[in-house]
Chain length 337, copies 2
Amino acid sequence: MAMSEFEIIRRNFASRGIDRGDVVLGIGDDGAVVRMPSGCDLVTVVDTLVAGVHFPHETRPEDVGHKALAVNLSDVAAMGAVPAWATLALTLPHADEAWLSAFARGFFGLAQRYEVQLVGGDTTHGPLTVTVQIQGWVHSGRAVRRSGARPGDVIYLTGAVGDAGLALRAWQQQQALSATDGEYLFSRLHRPIPRCREGEALSGEVSAMVDVSDGLAADLGHILEASGVGATLNLHSIPLSPSFVAVTGSGKYYMNEAERLRLALSAGDDYELCFTAPEAQCRRVEDIFSNFSCGCHAIGIIETAPGLRLRQADGTLLSLERNGYEHFAQEPGNAGN
Amino acid sequence: MAMSEFEIIRRNFASRGIDRGDVVLGIGDDGAVVRMPSGCDLVTVVDTLVAGVHFPHETRPEDVGHKALAVNLSDVAAMGAVPAWATLALTLPHADEAWLSAFARGFFGLAQRYEVQLVGGDTTHGPLTVTVQIQGWVHSGRAVRRSGARPGDVIYLTGAVGDAGLALRAWQQQQALSATDGEYLFSRLHRPIPRCREGEALSGEVSAMVDVSDGLAADLGHILEASGVGATLNLHSIPLSPSFVAVTGSGKYYMNEAERLRLALSAGDDYELCFTAPEAQCRRVEDIFSNFSCGCHAIGIIETAPGLRLRQADGTLLSLERNGYEHFAQEPGNAGN
């Protein structure tokens, strides 16, 4: 990169945001040096967003900055870990000052909220690609894996699902939503708030956890596969937001009950937490969530029989004809059996 | 990505290479969990290689895999740290099995050599971009920064410089080199061996260190800037390899002494270590390098006066008319004053 571009990047990224006491050496050397708390294990996540693949090219740069960090924070939360330090590998067609400044605003706005410090990075020329890596910690032995679900465990979901998928549909069809519903739904798509505090609080308390990024059915599928179990979801218990219900209840986005549930179960980008807990632990889970406004719903039960069964209010099973992701559709036992 | 692509990636990356005892949870969950040794600080580096920018599109995939890890290991070495765990964010136009398998061969071949375990990653669709991030550790307080050089310190360089720059020139001009020189020089360009053991051994022993990735003059410039000092290099002490000397001594790549030194000082991709040490420490540095075959040469001295002076054998100063990187050329005091 040319001098002026280095300057622009330095101005937008170096010494921005918070200044953690455990950072020995931040941006500007060959590597970053940080101090881990004792008695803890190091947790690392990494996720890449590619323009035109993971977000539309016309996405506002502040939303790209926010979301690139959010999707990684969500993975940290799903481990039950506390996020602390981040690195950013940014590939840009050119160093556009306005774009970078807006991107940094989105990135650091969210970083500040969870006291995450940017400690390193690399900026290169090329097609717009954003790779964020976050490090954090969890008390030794208390990381929550995907593989710990056991038959009889209750399946929980934070917040609500389907909002981001509905917003993406509206964005692609360029059809207007009411001001209130539009603001809510688009913020769920473009500026998701990862469930960091919730994830931390669940560390060592629950048997398995995953964040909902590929769609609830697909991500719960990861728990089932890793744990060697199956599950039944009670579809009438799947939490849907008031905006989701309103927008799909009539008008251009009207859907019948089955269509609505298929969207909520298969659309990605929700960044909620889906976790399982033995029944004896349910009271504890409810206590934990009394501190959090997002809420938490029991949506089903882990079973021995492999596969995911979707039980409707009348007792019949729903078929997920079309899943959000091909790799899930091809897994055995998930096609609405 | 489609099912088949996930499968290809899993086959090539999951459970490959070594299995470290300190990895609690590797690839396959939302994040990786590892255990840090006590009394140590965590060191993190990240570097991105973009096809067509950092390596020619026609580079062999095993060389891309090797080099993406090597450039990051070199940064870890420059901190005086021990590498341990890596993540890989790979953006690919499509999941070509032959390409991925060769890439993985190059990546894991080098990872094995330094006992680095791949603990996480992300594979996405898009233009070929490779971001590697490595974590390692250093005993608390013993990381080597760029900012510790003091007037009177001796400047050292491992190995030799200029080989990769000469090889890149030969590659671009598609002119044949002799078998021996060609093999050596192209391996320096495509399969650099980072100075990991050397860097670890220098932890806490030297005053400043950097790895030579942008060219010796530019990277030493980073030490000078961070330390607020200047330097004089004795150009007759700059180590050049026998192949470099042979190829530039006659024939199509003939260069006079000044041209040869300009190339050696400004070409990038050498991945040697450049470091400084107080004179009282020089005996210790020589002792350390008696264990390493790459060798280590005293090439100059840190001075109070800002800027980098390049002293030729006859006592006159050489001007680096054209530096490898624009950002360096514009820094004050480095234009051969």
